[in-house]
Amino acid sequence: MKKTHSRLTDRIATVYFWLAGLAIIGILGWVLYDILSKGLPQLSWHFITGKPSEVSAGGGVGPMLFNSFYILFLSLIFSLPVGIGAGIYLAVYARKSRFSDLVRLSVEALASVPSIVFGLFGALLFVSWFGWKISIVSGAATLSLLNLPVLVRVTEESLRSVPSSYWEASLALGSSRWQTIRKVLLPSAMPGLITGVTLVAGRALGETAVLIYTAGTAASRHFPDFGLKEMGATLAVHLWYSGSSSLAPDARQIAQGSSALLVLIVLIFNLAIAIPGRIIQKRLTGGK
């Protein structure tokens, strides 16, 4: 009697978990479908490369798309050396000490800071104290702070995954620690590093709260404009602006087109990570 009871409960539970799993797949699939089905029809060459317009219909997102990648590129230039350096310190040099504990706690804390707080900090430090105004360089500098903790973590993890025999063998051959890091550790950790940097880039491209009050919501009239002191609205900021406060009559369409474009970029980034990773893995494990 008791046995049939518990067997029935088990069946019900199995059915429930299947339903839950399908519900999650359903929600995620529906989100993707909603974005792409509404946004893809808006995409055209004119939309992707054209200039925006404030009050009339038919504006494009060309300068915003350019700004997105330009600010991303600058922020990576600022944050990559420091992030990778601190990651190397934690993976290779750090012993258990108060200092390394402090660095680790700092990385965790930095990763948890809400992005709007980074935005206010950037507005305080770069925009008003350094006098960089609301500009591309202020936005990129603030964004680089957001990238920093992820870069440190990714570097540390991918360096740790290199077998320690590599390190020992290289030192035994008489190379210095720096030579070993440069010629042995970093090349072997490269696939992990590239994956990590791509993840950071994807996240930075979609970031809005950091940039509204550091890079601004308007874009330069000229295109492409490499000026560091120009205002630099990115695609994600433009999407937010079109969705909530733009005066253009086709703001809703612009927002939907931008959001499909952003999701496509994120999709491409994710595929770019997944495919080489799978090929490498197949080679290493003999196709299993």
Binding site: L28, A109, L110, S112, L171, S175, W178, V266
Partner: protein, 316 residues
């Protein structure tokens, strides 16, 4: 690895010093230089977080020159541009807590069921679809979720409950959007926690004659509790700090909401909404920095909470 590295490194330096050829001297000098650069980068990371705390804290605490602590934290009257301005941030605090709690309440049951499904029940090919799919959904920009909320969820709720598609703003649509956003985070952390349990736990329980459900409920879930809690706290942190998606669906009236479909404002959206209207170093602007400080302290508290929860699991 690092202990070995220290010893080997010292040996290398010593032998280099004994021979003292030009090459090894240059090697040693370069080695020391790079080491200090790496340490410098690590110091810089700590400097960044401390300067964020100090700068935002300093700017925020200037608020108390003009506004009393009691008024800021306990008054519900937010009218910063009136002739006799008042800066009561209680509505924002209240809505922030309500919103974060509600979105976690919506997200956790489904995320946890999904994690159990993926870790224990799903056939391999479904798992191989769901894993990258959840990663993708962590990566989708928050404004995109906000736009879906604005174009789909707000009109739907408005029509269903108030008969008009423009009346659907408030905490409920924001909580639904946030629940979809934090669910993949909670799911993947919980799944990792379940998956990293030793297989012996499951096998022993099944060998004793327990059904799969009994094993999950009585053995695996309790054992994975620290990891699951970590995932929930991470999700909570994301829900508290999320700005743009919430801004688009919450309505942005600076009042305590009477219902879940009543326009209101949370800390993050109050900052975004008002920053454009304020000048630097005015009480209004400082009050926004004080709100950022509150957010910062909340998220730091959650990090310490995760450390506490995860630390307890190691002792076990």
């Amino acid at each position: 690895m690092s202990v070995i590295s220290e010893r080997q490194g010292r040996q290398a330096e010593q032998s280099g010093g004994a021979r003292s050829t030009a090459w090894s001297k240059r090697q040693a000098r370069q080695d020391r230089l790079m080491r200090s650069l790496f340490i410098g980068s690590a110091v810089l990371v700590s400097v960044v977080i401390f300067s964020i705390i100090v700068f935002v804290g300093f700017q925020g605490s200037k608020t108390f020159r003009d506004v009393s602590v009691v008024e800021f934290f306990f008054s519900t009257k937010w009218s910063p541009s009136a002739d006799s301005p008042s800066f009561g941030a209680l509505p924002f605090l209240y809505s922030t807590i309500l919103l974060a709690g509600l979105s976690i309440l919506l997200a956790v049951p489904l995320a946890l069921s999904g994690a159990i499904f993926m870790a224990m029940i799903a056939p391999r090919w479904i798992r191989e679809i769901m894993r990258p799919a959840t990663d993708l959904f962590v990566g989708i920009p928050s404004v995109v979720y906000g736009l879906i909320g604005l174009t789909v969820i707000v009109p739907f709720l408005g029509k269903t409950f108030h008969g008009s598609s423009s009346a659907g703003y408030g905490i409920l649509p924001a909580a639904i959007v946030l629940a979809v956003m934090v669910m993949p985070t909670i799911l993947s952390v919980s799944e990792d926690a379940l998956r990293s349990l030793p297989g012996a736990l499951r096998e022993a329980s099944l060998a004793l004659g327990a059904t799969r459900w009994q094993t999950i409920w009585r053995v695996l879930l309790p054992a994975a509790r620290p990891g699951i809690l970590t995932g929930v706290i991470l999700g909570l942190g994301r829900a508290i700090g999320e700005t743009m998606a919430v801004f688009m669906v919450i309505g942005n009236a600076p009042v305590v909401p009477k219902s879940l479909l009543d326009s209101t404002t949370v800390l993050t959206t109050a900052i975004v909404k008002d920053m454009a209207n304020t000048f630097f170093n005015t009480p209004w602007n400082n009050a926004l920095y004080l709100m950022a400080l509150v957010l910062l302290l909340l998220s730091l508290f959650l990090i310490l909470l995760i450390r506490f929860v995860a630390g307890r699991s190691e002792v076990k």
